[in-house]
Structure formats: structure tokens, C-alpha cells
Amino acid sequence: MFDVDKLRADFPILSREVRGVPLVYLDSGATSQKPTQVLDAERHFYETSNAAVHRGAHALAEEATDAYEAARQTIASFVGAQVEEIVFTKNATEGINLVAYAFSNATDKARQGIEVDRRFVVGPGDSIVVTEMEHHANLIPWQELCAKTGATLKWFGLTEEGRLDISPGVIDNTTKFVSVVHQSNLLGTINPVKKIMDMAHAVGALGMVDLCQSVPHMSVNVNELGADFASWSGHKMLGPTGIGILWGKSDLLNAMPPFLSGGSMIEMVHMDHSTYAPAPQRFEAGVPMAAQAIGLARACDYLNELGMDNVFLHEQELTAYALEELAKIPGVRVIGPTDMRDRGSAVSFVVEGIHPHDVGHLMDAKGVAVRVGHHCCWPTCRRFDVPATTRITTYIYNDKSDIDQAIAGIKSAQEFFGSGIAVSA
């Protein structure tokens, strides 16, 4: 196991104060903090090798291109992928949209008589399948695809416990694509994605997994997901903002029409037509986020040094502890699984009689940073009939004392709203 106290020194922000008290950061599910090593790697690139990647032949341009492609290799290895399967995006949201647009673009082109891979053509009578626990990023792009093509959106519902209700009949012969979150950012549930991807493939559909909340927190090998595509963000795994990854099987990536078009994704350009480079270049139009790719690769190295299995164990321990402590507080209801089976470190809850926003505010007043709201899973909140939740999410730099602070914060909120009016002064 790793030494939390020691590694906290790599995160200067964790020793600051907020609202006059020491910060307790329990919002890594929204975005993680960044270790000095990652910031140094980005800066080192800017100060020594910065140049436009894939756009020049001079010494700096060569160094920059090498550094960028080496980062791609590091990130590929981190998830067991081939280097040419890794497309850099600005965030997970772009990665998911990129795949959704492959469908609408192929459909548009087919309508104009342009030859496209039929697996990406959808229309009335076809369906796309998601779940009721998707982040908006893995829901709205598919709603939009359906609105544009006349396809139908279907979804797996949820059990009371916060697990997927994998009823037969949702995936059927009309299904062209299935996209499912690996670990829910609201419920913490870890889904049996392999099983669902196999169901998709059984009816000839393609499938995608949203890895935003899994890759940062556990060892993930993309080849074991049974999926065709996957997407996640760098900023939730110690990396910089502004970088994400789309993983896709090479034959599929190369069968897709381009998404963003422009420089660096071309083969030949004439005024009236162009041809495109193979993937991943095909999907990386424009000068890329080179420094961020390099920062993210350094984040992968940092996590590898800790060991992803250790990261997972560490968080499992914290989560079990948090669930235990929450269970002791009367009036607290956890939204999502309350046992540790197939569950990650996102713990959402509501407190009877106090709005989640107020709970979060009073925790914040004690320095405890948690997220409040629908967590970009509005339909999931509706499913559990809550307007919002308060959410604790942990990472490598958290320990039990952070959970204790959170628990104390919740109790103080209960006291405050319970006793009510006496507090102001």
C-alpha cells in the first residue's frame, strides 16, 4: 500500500484553507487534484520542446511530436490498448460525441449516395440503448442522434438498490448501438459491462463504455470490457484539464467518417474534395493539446507507481468506512448500493428534512468540499425521487480522517437545521 500522508505533499492545494478552515477535498469524482509531477511535466514541455506537433520538420517540432506520441504510448499501455487505438479528445464528452457523430455523419453521407460503412447508418426503426444511470455526457449525444435520424432511444432501468435492471427485450434486433457507464458517478454502482456488450454484439450492434469513473480508480484493461469503444477524461485521474481519451478498435475507427475536420487529419486536399488519414490522426484535427497529453502520461506513470490495484483497495476501504459511518446517522439515506459488492467510491446521500444543497453548504462551511446537485444524472435523481443528492467522492490523497470530517459536517447540518433558529448572530 502507499503512504497517503507522504503523497499529499505532491498536492500543494490540499494544504490550503477554505472559509478559514483546512480544506478536505472530497470532490474528486468531479475533478481530481494534480500532483506537482504532472504540472512539472507540462511545464517542462513548454519550456524545452514546445512546437506544433505533426506540423514541422525542425528540431523542436520533432521533439514535440516525439513527446506527444510517447504520451499516447504511455496512455495506451495504461489501459492495455494498442497505440493506434488511442484518440486524444478534449474530454470524455467529446469522445462520446465523436462516436455519436460517426453515426449521424455516416447516415447523412449514405443519404447523399456516398459509400459508408453500413454499421454506422441509423434511421427510423433502429434503436440506441443506454441506461437510466448515465451521465448526461452519455445520454444527450444519443438523444441528439435519435432526434437527427429518427432512431429510437431505449434504456435499462434501475433497481431500488441502484443496480441495472438488465431486462430482456431492451436490446433487440433493432439495436444498432449500446452505450453504458462502467461505474456510475452518482450511485457508485459498477456495471457488468462485458455482459451488456456481449448482448449488444449478439444482435449485431456495436457497443461503448463510459470509463470516466473507472479508469482513475481501478485497473482497467480495455480488451476485457468486450466493448468497441470507450471514453474517459484526464482531469479525473490526476491529469490536466482539456484532455480526454477515446479508445476504439482500429478497424472501426478506420471505418468511421471524420468528425472534426481540418489540418493534420488529411491525406490529400483539393478545393473540391479531400481524403483522410487513418485513425487516430483522422480524429485529431488542428494543433492538438500536446502539453496536456504529456501531463496525462505523467499522471499515468504516477498512478502506476502507486499501483492501480492499491488505488482500488485504498478507496474500497474508504468507501466501506464511509458507508458504515453514514449508516449510523439517523435520517441519512444513501442513494445507490449500500454494500461493497460491485461498487466504487462515489457515495451519494440525502438527509431527511434538509435539502442536499444546504447539506453541502454547511459541510463546505467546515472546509469539506463535496458536490451537490444532480451530478449530471438528472434522470437518475428522478428515478430515486430526490431533487438532488450530496456526494462524497474520494481519491488517493484521502484518508479516514477526511471521511470523519464529512460525517461531522453532516451532523452539524442536522443540528443546525434541527435546532433551527438559534444559530444566527
Binding site: 435539502h355 442536499p356 444546504d358 438532488a388 433558529i421
Partner: protein
């Protein structure tokens, strides 16, 4: 702890909301939602025979949004559009002030309790949502101060 945010007045309005779900003869309504937290409010406006405003609201959300709606309904109900306008403006001003403005109790009455909210950017929307719904409903019902002036 958070005294600046959760004033006695706010907690009182939160626990004992005034004017919520009152049946009125409404001319228009406005539904508003805070997309970051899911707070929702619907404000209805009508007009008394003497030309003063009738206000009712419904909604769900945090203490700030609920108390603000209650204070809003108490302050605006029974005022003419022309009387309401400076109050509405003063409240908007206060919310934009980042805690730098000393609110005028003459004008804002109980609403001065929200002065502290303006220091918390993420909560300002909570306090404003019902007031925004009010303005929107007034426009739809043509019960704004300017409309009155023009037609009067």
C-alpha cells in the same frame, strides 16, 4: 458558522413559507429551473381590482431558494407594478454585489437577509430563481412597471 448565509429571517421563511401554493386568479405563470442543482420554481401572477399584484409560487429546492420565494411573495403581493419595480431592482443589485452592498431595509425589508448570499456565487442563483420567475411572469402578463406606464 455560516451566520452570514443562514440568517434567522431566512430559516424562518424556509420553515414557515408565506404565500406558497395560494390559489389566485392568475394571468400568467413562469417555470424556472436551476440546471446545476435541479431547484425548480413556478410563479403565478394576477391582478387585484385595484391594479396591485397577486403573487403565488410553488417549487422545491434548498432553504435559500425557498425562503427567497417566500420573502418575494410577501414583499410583492399587493404592490402595484410601479411600487414593485424598485424592490425587484434593489434585490437584483444586492445579489450582484458580492457582499459589498449595504442593503436598504426601507426598500427590501426581510429581503436584506439575503445580503450574505451574494458572497457565495454558487448560491446567488438559488436566491434569484423566484425573482426571475416573477419578472418573466410579469412580462407575460404585461404587468410590468413600464407596461403600466405606457398603457396608463
Amino acid at each position: 458558522m455560516s451566520e452570514d448565509l443562514y440568517q434567522e429571517i431566512i430559516l424562518d421563511h424556509y420553515k414557515n413559507p408565506r404565500g406558497k401554493k395560494v390559489e389566485i386568479d392568475s394571468l400568467a405563470q413562469s417555470y424556472q429551473v436551476n440546471p446545476t442543482c435541479g431547484d425548480e420554481v413556478t410563479v403565478e401572477v394576477g391582478q387585484n381590482p385595484d391594479g396591485t399584484l397577486l403573487v403565488s409560487y410553488d417549487g422545491q429546492g434548498c432553504s435559500i431558494s425557498q425562503a427567497s420565494a417566500s420573502v418575494m411573495s410577501e414583499l410583492i403581493n399587493g404592490k402595484t407594478p410601479a411600487e414593485a419595480a424598485p424592490i425587484q431592482e434593489a434585490f437584483m443589485e444586492l445579489m450582484k454585489s458580492k457582499g459589498q452592498l449595504e442593503p436598504d431595509e426601507e426598500v427590501l425589508e426581510d429581503a436584506i437577509a439575503f445580503a450574505g448570499v451574494s458572497k457565495y456565487p454558487a448560491r446567488i442563483k438559488c436566491a434569484l430563481i423566484s425573482w426571475m420567475a416573477l419578472s418573466d411572469a410579469q412580462i407575460k402578463a404585461q404587468l410590468t412597471a413600464t407596461t403600466t406606464t405606457r398603457s396608463g
